[in-house]
Symmetry: C2
Subunit: 207 residues, 2 copies
């Protein structure tokens, strides 16, 4: 059973917390990129490492047990700031900001840099799968109730370059507890990766 914590946070509380913690994640994202690409000498690396260890210790002086979780407000708003794809407090997330069209199509424009590399200069195929799993999952849940991936098939049409990218997904059909969704990732030249998924309504959300 998954625990979605309900917390009595107002819109102002959420904004206040976001203003405190989001800029830290933005900075750590830049540090992640620099860590992969730096060519500074051993002495500088060791000095930087010591500073980072000190920063980590200060942050850990007061921290939650375990992962961030998913918090819900009484008004039904969902806060997934630790999420691996959209988490604004998670430096490993690009993070995607997912938009919703009138017809419930979901889409995001985003940028993938050095941290997402697989083949040289290109997006790791699994990173494309990660992003498509998330965007398809959001498209599968137009009522803001979570649906979980039953299965997903990802087809790679060509190597996807690092840089600015677009992802989108929409429901193709619903059959009982199963929601079928398809989507893709594209660069300026067109589609690079396509996906189809079957998403399942969890038992505790079925009528």
């Amino acid at each position: 059973m998954l625990e979605f914590t309900v917390e009595d946070l107002s819109a102002e509380d959420i904004e206040r917390l976001r203003a405190i913690y989001e800029p830290l994640a933005v900075s750590v994202r830049a540090l992640v990129d620099a860590t992969i690409r730096t060519e500074v000498d051993a002495e500088t690396v060791a000095a930087v490492k010591a500073d980072i260890d000190a920063a980590t210790a200060r942050l850990r002086s007061k921290q939650i047990d375990g992962a961030f979780g998913v918090k819900r407000t009484p008004s039904g708003r969902s806060i997934s700031w630790g999420n691996a794809v959209i988490g604004l407090r998670n430096p490993t997330a690009p993070p995607l900001v997912i938009h919703r069209d009138e017809d419930d199509r979901r889409w995001a424009d985003f940028h993938l840099g050095a941290a997402y590399e697989g083949p040289p200069g290109h997006v790791h195929g699994g990173v494309s799968a990660l992003i498509l799993d998330h965007v398809l999952g959001e498209a599968a849940s137009p009522d803001a109730k979570p649906r979980f991936t039953g299965s997903i098939t990802v087809r790679y049409l060509r190597a996807c370059p690092l840089g600015p990218l677009h992802a989108e997904a929409q429901i193709t059909r619903v059959d009982g507890v199963k929601t079928f969704v398809s989507g893709h990732i594209s660069d300026a030249e067109g589609i690079t990766v396509e996906a189809e998924g079957v998403f399942i309504t969890p038992r505790w959300l079925r009528d």
Copy 2:
């Protein structure tokens, strides 16, 4: 065309570079975790952020253009330190250390923490797909020549908890330029996610 840089690095050079840069990535991985989980006050966060920005600037004072790439030594060794799954210099990679059995089965034991969360306390379904894509891809390339994912289907049997996990994959059949591979992720209770993939030998590696 993908550029695999050939660099004339000896085993000693590689070890020296690894000893300089790997500990930095280990520290930044811990910082990523602390960034997601910290509850320290706004003042402390701002001070830590300033220290991190300074650290990033020092690392960026000398850095490569673009992503890390994949370097090959004349002896055929491949260095993928920026890779999103196995990159030892990439703080967003767990990183997986992939072992090879006598029968060419590939496997890895690894730990996923707060940075890989999707549903509360559980691995993001897309992260499982990311890891399986990589492990299946390694299994598809027993001769150390890269093969690229044509398609992969991932089936989610149950929610996969954050914590210690195992992944493995092996070739089921080869048909011309197509290599068929299957694999799974498991926790202490058994398999959580299965995958099947078709991997393609790139044109420039075909005989």
